[in-house]
């Protein structure tokens, strides 16, 4: 499944991120293949807000459809 299908509150693991340029920018914020993150919030057909501890980041809808994830909790 993709990040766009995630529901607020779910814990997820990032499986894959397309495009090297995005991977390189995302990893600085803590989003990388294998990362365990929580979906803090989501705007329907809009950005997903991910959290790990106190760090939060927003990912646009288009990109969230390309990021493969699995729900772990």
């Amino acid at each position: 499944m993709t990040l766009s299908n995630v529901q607020p509150g779910e814990m997820i693991e990032i499986i894959s991120i397309p495009d090297e340029k995005i991977r390189v920018q995302a990893i600085r914020l803590g989003i990388y293949e294998g990362a365990h993150l929580q979906c803090a919030d989501k705007i329907s057909n809009g950005p997903v807000i991910l959290r790990r501890k106190t760090q939060e980041m927003a990912i646009g809808y288009g990109l969230s459809k390309q990021i493969k994830i699995k729900v772990i909790a």
């Binding site: 995005i22 600085r28 914020l29 803590g30 705007i43 809009g46 106190t54 646009g60 809808y61 990109l63």
Partner: protein
């Protein structure tokens, strides 16, 4: 300077070669500037970094030169800020890395990269007061051991930890680099003039590779970033423990700001407050005093009495200096009386928005809407900045991810975003018309903005990029910081606007004196009188608007004051001047930032659209 032969040397001439340099580095909004001010006191210079829009502050502390760098998430060349930070850091002798203690996972990524560069570092672990508040505990000793550099806990606004930090400067140390990097860096750095550049060559930084003629070196950027991320997470897991968990008010407020159901009402309340503050309090109460009384009466009477005897009334020199568009009458009255208070008001608000951490939340909230215009939420930053100054905002479109987005944003900025000075004049004039007219004005501009954006999105080739941003914690802005930002920006406004106003005043006086103005007014009559149903004098304001849009708006302000415009005409003229071609400065920047073809499309496009929309409104309303 230890490495004075670098190719960046001519960019950094303020980095005196005989003096050691202390560089402040850190992520955005971690409080670097507070440290900078503590070191340098009042004697600070700000200079533009050549070839960028980035300003660098530098000052002196004892025998050191202290340099502040733009906040970045890492050192590389994704954008101007990073390139500037990179070049300043590469040349520094001691790095003070300011770290947000609450966001170690994000901030230590930069810290570890600085360590990998092999620079002597000392860490100011800032915002320690927020650590407890967020239910966290940090083992500082262990963190210091793992990184291999000294750490001083600090609370910048209260100046806690500053003395220990200053006393420990000579203890700055080269930390523990990633172990897999040691060997390749050692091999490479021995061949370089500046060994710190070895890491960036391995990380495929194009600029650093080129200046070392190292294009053919193998690159490991992704690999290195993964090692670094893994290391940082290991460290954070070891040193940070959560002692309690509880949703504070800030967390709840942050959720409300992001959720559309509560977020949009909050946004509208904030915008409403901004409108009242800027459009009512500043544009009316304050401007009535500064423009109406101080400049319009005392100053004008003074200058007229002083200089009238020197010139023959009606002569060219009389008009040039103290006439209706005079250099000593109109120019200072418009700039100091009318526009400066508005600019000050706008930048006060903008600094509050920036420092509170609300901007990235607005970006997330409006992302979905802006996607329909071929933009993503980040574009809200140049759009909001555009309400301050379209010229600055046009340069800021560089932060957008693709050429396509930069074109759309530039077009929309040039077309439908009034700058603060112009907006102030407009809201001031609207204030006297009543809420109904304001509503029509707002809806018109909003629709033009939306329709043009949607059409561009539909027909421009290519693909726009997606939102990917850090959402920093909400913070109460520090008043001192807000005022110092406001001051810098207002001074910039004066520097930028004054020469253009002088040129404009001379131009208009020449046109008027040689009766070309009347000729233009008559020639433009089909447009102004027939299409827009405005008095022909309004052509003068539109010509002034080509020079600066606030200049044009100020001209309309005069016309309305003289009773030449009825309410519907005021509305039409304000819609036209808002949508009108961007001012000369903005046009110059557009030509610099975009291609010739794109720039001409923007220029002609905004001209046609402004008259078409104004004409349509006039035919309906007047």
């Amino acid at each position: 300077m230890s490495h004075c032969h670098s190719s960046t040397q001519n960019n950094l001439d303020f980095m005196n070669e005989s003096q050691k340099t202390i560089i402040l580095a850190g992520n955005p909004n971690v409080g670097k500037s507070v440290f900078f001010n503590a070191f340098t006191g009042l004697y600070v210079d700000v200079s533009n970094f050549p070839g960028t829009t980035v300003d660098i502050s530098y000052g002196k502390y004892k025998n050191y030169t202290v340099i502040d760098t733009p906040g970045v998430y890492g050192v590389s060349s994704f954008n101007d800020e990073e390139r500037v930070a990179r070049d300043v850091i590469l040349e520094g002798d001691i790095i003070i890395n300011v770290v947000d203690a609450v966001h170690l996972e994000r901030d230590l990524f930069l810290t570890q990269q600085l360590i990998d560069m092999g620079k002597p570092i000392i860490i100011a672990l800032n915002m320690m007061d927020d650590v407890k508040r967020n239910g966290l505990n940090i083992d500082i000793n262990q963190l210091s051991n793992l990184l291999g550099v000294p750490i001083i806990p600090t609370i910048a606004p209260k100046k806690i930890g500053f003395d220990p930090l200053i006393d420990s400067l000579d203890q700055a140390r080269i930390g523990h680099p990633l172990k897999d990097l040691k060997e390749p860096i050692e091999q490479l750095s021995s061949t370089l003039k500046n060994p710190a550049e070895a890491l960036l060559i391995l990380e495929e930084d194009q600029h650093v590779r080129e200046r070392n003629q190292a294009e053919n070196q193998p690159g490991y950027r992704e690999q290195i970033y993964q090692w670094r991320r893994k290391r940082v997470n290991e460290i954070v897991d070891k040193v940070v423990s959560e002692i309690s968990q509880g949703a504070s008010f800030k967390t709840k407020l942050s959720r409300w700001m992001l959720n559309p159901i509560t977020g949009f009402p909050i946004l509208f309340v904030v915008l409403g407050f901004m409108y009242y503050f800027l459009g009512v309090f500043f544009a009316q109460t304050i401007v009535d005093f500064t423009e109406g009384v101080v400049m319009g009466q005392y100053y004008q009477n003074f200058i007229l009495q002083l200089l009238s005897p020197a010139f023959q009334e009606g002569s060219f020199w009389y008009k040039l200096f103290i006439g209706e568009f005079g250099l000593l009458t109109m120019v200072p009255i418009y700039i100091l009386g009318l526009l400066l208070p508005l600019v000050i008001g706008f930048y006060l608000l903008l600094s509050l928005l920036e420092d509170s951490g609300y901007l990235p939340r607005i970006a997330t909230l409006v992302d979905k809407g802006l996607m329909k215009l071929g933009l993503n939420g980040r574009a809200i930053i140049p759009i909001i900045l555009g309400f301050g100054c379209v010229t600055m905002a046009t340069i800021t479109t560089r932060i957008l991810g693709s050429k396509r987005e930069r074109f759309i944003a530039t077009m929309l900025l040039g077309l439908a975003i009034p700058c603060s000075a112009q907006l102030g004049v407009i809201t001031g004039m609207m204030g006297s018309l009543g809420i109904g007219y304001f509503f029509i004005y707002f809806i018109t501009i909003f629709f033009v903005f939306g329709i043009v954006g949607a059409l561009l999105n539909r027909f421009l080739p290519g693909k726009s990029t997606d939102l990917l941003i850090d959402i920093p914690p909400l913070r109460l802005p520090k008043i001192k910081n807000v005022f110092s930002k406001m001051y810098t920006k207002s001074v910039m406004f004066l520097k930028e606007a004054t020469p253009l106003f002088i040129i404009g005043a001379i131009g208009i006086t020449l046109l008027e004196h040689f009766h070309i103005l009347t000729w233009i007014q008559n020639a433009a009559a089909p447009l102004t009188e027939t299409l827009l149903k405005l008095p022909k004098e309004s052509a003068t304001s539109f010509i002034m608007g080509i020079i600066r849009r606030d200049f044009g708006a100020a001209g309309l302000f005069d016309l309305a004051n003289q009773g030449l415009l009825n309410p519907a005409q005021t509305l039409v003229s304000l819609v036209v001047i808002t949508l009108f071609v961007p001012c000369i400065a903005a046009i110059l920047v557009i030509f610099k930032e975009r291609s010739w073809k794109e720039s001409i499309a923007i220029w002609v496009g905004s001209f046609v659209i402004s008259f078409a929309v104004g004409g349509l409104l006039a035919q309906i309303l007047i």
